[in-house]
């Protein structure tokens, strides 16, 4: 990636490229343009982020102090479940697909995604899937209330009637994700500009290529497990019912065989985004590009053989326990390599701290803290004490909020000038960063303490010794939540106007996406650039 030069960039000499998109609503319904679809994914994901966030606010408000104040346990469980489902499947995943849609073709010099019609279809399934999922909240008996991991038999024999709709919604999300993943792979493998060899690809493209394979591998497993649930509920099978010869633990094995790679699906593209941004603002090439690619590939491989570390307390045999403990500890090695490489990239660079860099640096620090608690959780005997407590809640929020979500913020600020042609409001964006940073840490850091002190997760009310830290967490949560409205404002303001952005607004940035004007024309690279 370092010494590549661009032979020629061809945007405007092709007469097609000039005519813009059709007007009106139908533009968005019928579009096959990767930039339009990317934008729709981003907006959809942000809407879901606010919805899932609103549910988190309900949770934090109820937990503000001991006792039941605002909601009853029934509804509280629906909030924790929906918050998880919406954030994972509605906010984080579509946001990365949105970034992939926008950036992958421009980064590899392709005119569009390889399968544009399918691209449209994979987006438009999502609003229907989530409308269906959210509608279950208004059904008799309420929505899903069994946690985002929906363990059987709580989610089968003991579930509300709306579970069938939940299953259908999950199927739709899975179809959308698989189509999106096929598209990413087809694009990267077929549409690279001449000279853009695999080992010259930007790291964001690499991480997405690997993520797409993970998606294709595990989304069918999720579809399988929800179908088994459907059978248990309606067709008299007993996959997860010991009374009929089944096994409730089978559910957990199948679910986590999907679920563990799934958490890497949410973090690998984040690694990619950060690997673009840190070199740009350090004005120094990424340290250890090759080892970064191998590290991502190793993490992806290991993600398939560690699933039972989510199940250390279900009573798997000692040998199994030991195997999954070792395999899980091993993940720390490639993850450590990535962190060391980012730090080495910053070391002896010429650093500036524009907003994308602020989020990226916060990502490295806070994701590493999430990694540390992950390492602690991998120690099986200690996990008997951590499992299903707020320590786990703290852990996965540290890798997902300042991990995945900060990386998305970083990516949005980094590429917003390219998308809109305007610079965002730098001052406000820094307020957004610092408020998010402080709010997020206030929310999730105390959770380590209450978890270690013995507070189980997913409870609507708690013993008095957990009260103080919960109050702090709630205050932090409200702060983080409100701050995201500021982000909405910043983005709208940037779309509407602002200082004109140059083709390459960041001094140290490299890559094909900076060779096209800002805003990027509706069609880019209709003639492929030569990458040398």
């Amino acid at each position: 990636m370092t010494d590549q030069t661009i032979g020629h960039v061809n945007d405007h000499d092709d007469s097609h490229a000039d005519h813009g998109p059709p007007k009106g609503l139908m533009r968005w319904v019928l579009t096959t343009n990767h930039k339009d679809i990317g934008s729709m994914y981003m907006w959809f994901s942000f809407a879901m982020f606010l919805l899932g966030g609103a549910m988190a606010m309900v949770i934090r408000a109820e937990l503000f102090q001991p006792g039941l104040q605002l909601v009853q346990p029934e509804f509280f469980n629906q909030m924790t479940t929906m918050h998880g489902l919406i954030m994972v499947f509605g906010a984080v995943m579509p946001a990365f697909v949105g970034l992939a849609n926008w950036m992958i073709p421009m980064m590899i010099g392709a005119p569009d995604m390889a399968l544009p019609r399918m691209n449209n279809w994979s987006f438009w399934i999502l609003p229907f899937a989530f409308a269906l999922l959210v509608s279950t909240l208004f059904m008799e008996g309420g929505g899903p209330n069994f946690g985002w991991t929906f363990y059987a038999p709580l989610s089968t024999d003991y579930a509300p009637p709306s579970t069938t709709f939940f299953i259908f919604a999950v199927h739709m999300m899975g179809v959308s994700s698989i189509m999106g993943a096929i598209n990413v792979i087809a694009t990267i493998l077929n549409l690279r500009a001449p000279g853009m060899t695999l080992m010259k690809m930007p790291l964001f493209v690499w991480t997405w290529l690997i993520t797409a394979y993970l998606l294709i591998a595990v989304m069918p497993v999720l579809a399988g497990v929800v179908t088994m649930m459907l059978m248990d509920i309606h067709f008299g099978t007993a996959f997860f019912n010991a009374g009929g010869g089944g096994d409730p633990v089978l559910f957990q094995h199948v679910f986590w065989f999907f679920g563990h790679p799934e958490v890497y699906i949410m973090i690998l593209p984040a690694f990619g985004v950060v690997s673009q941004i840190i070199p740009a603002f350090s004005r120094k090439p990424l340290f250890g590009y090759t080892s970064m690619v191998y590290a991502v590939a190793s993490i992806a491989f290991l993600s398939f053989i560690v699933w039972a570390h989510h199940m250390f307390t279900v009573g798997i045999p000692l040998v199994g326990e030991v195997f999954f403990m070792y395999a899980t500890m091993l993940i720390a090695v490639p993850t450590g390599v990535k962190v060391f490489n980012w730090v080495a990239t910053m070391f002896r660079g010429a650093l500036t701290f524009e907003t994308p860099m602020l989020f990226a640096v916060a990502f490295v620090v806070l994701f590493t803290i999430g990694g540390f608690s992950g390492l602690m959780l991998s120690i099986a005997p200690a996990d008997f004490q951590y499992h299903d407590t707020y320590f786990v809640v703290a852990h996965f929020h540290y890798v997902l909020v300042p991990g995945a979500i900060f990386a998305i913020f970083a990516g949005v600020y980094y590429w917003l000038p390219k998308w809109t042609g305007h610079m965002y409001d730098a001052g406000l964006s820094k307020v957004h960063f610092w408020m998010s940073f402080i709010g997020m840490n206030l929310t999730f850091f105390p959770m380590h303490f209450v978890g270690l002190a013995g507070m189980p997760r997913r409870i609507p009310d708690y013993a008095l010794q957990f009260a103080d830290f919960n109050m702090i967490a709630s205050i932090g949560g409200f702060m983080f939540g409100v701050t995201q409205l500021l982000f909405l404002f910043i983005v709208i303001k940037c779309v509407k106007g602002g200082p004109k952005a140059e083709a390459k607004p960041w001094e140290g940035a490299h890559g094909l996406e900076w060779m096209v004007p800002s805003p990027a024309p509706y069609h880019t690279f209709t003639t492929p650039p030569d990458v040398k």
Partner: protein
Amino acid sequence: MRLQARKLLTLMAGLLASPALWAEWAVNMPEGVTDLSRSIYDLHMTIFWICVVIGIVVFGVMFWSVIFHRKSRGAKASEFHESTLVEILWTSIPFAILVVMAIPATKTLIEVYDTKEADIDIKVTGYQWKWQYEYLGEDVSFFSNLTTPREEINNQRPKNKDYLLEVDEPLVVPIGKKIRFLVTGADVIHSWWVPELAVKKDAIPGFINESWAKINEPGIYRGQCAELCGKDHGFMPIVVDARPMDEYQKWLDEKRAEAAKVRELTQKDWTMDELMEKGEQVYTKLCAACHQPNGMGLPPMFPALKDAPIAVERSQIGKHIDVLLYGVKGTAMQAFKEQLNEVDMAAVITYERNAWGNNTGEVVTPKDILEYKKNGAYTGKYVEAK
């Protein structure tokens, strides 16, 4: 309207109440009271300090760069971007640390799994939302329910210091003996967790998991269900009361005597008032969580009992008893045969048939229950309904 205002006031008062009153600020895992819990605590602290040291090194280098390699300080970017040597170093050093860490972790894990040769076996069964303890071979078995009053949960009364961590009957165990817990679930998956014993084991319906503890110090140790198990997951605490062996023996004897007494009570003639009074207690403790104190339930998951045919039609008394004894398959209605004695059962059925305007005037007696258990039919021969 006035009720609303009062509710609001209580809420406000609660919000303003000083958190300092609750303060304990526990920030770490308890060391616990077994040798095993101490080993686990040591593992936890070791890995924690390893993380701290790595963190200091990594963040140290990073913040060094953030402070001294800023462009605004005139830093010029170097061009280096590769070094096989450092890559090998920072792959192999963490690997070595992990190996060092894996050794004690594996040792402890083997100990945790060594459930052989226990002195005492206790079967722990998770129910929605309570625990059952059976002392195998001792003929002692009972259920352990949350006793925190609803008024405290609903903020109508100040909360006591063991709020949500108190039960009617704690699990009494001896110190200095190896106690094996055989953990299972009756409906959904629960998880039996007492931090001070470092025991957390999932209670899975249809399977029995094993775990063990040998407690060093007498005392009361509190824990909670750790696996989401439905509506009242947060309201099924665990209390372990560890006593010296002789006191434990005494307690066992008392338990057996108590059970004998209850059997006698079944033969007593109960009046409707007595049954109603007892029935209300049982209902509040066991039934109100789902069917609600006012009998309205939370349909469709938890049906109403007020005006329900099963609770008002005379022809359905038999079914009423049956549902209480054996539960309803595929629903949250569990079997209470093991949890309630005949007196409690007769009382709660009588209560349900006469509370909240159900006013059937019908009395179901302990003898009716006994007869139903034996013959599977209700004849009504013990009491003529008024």
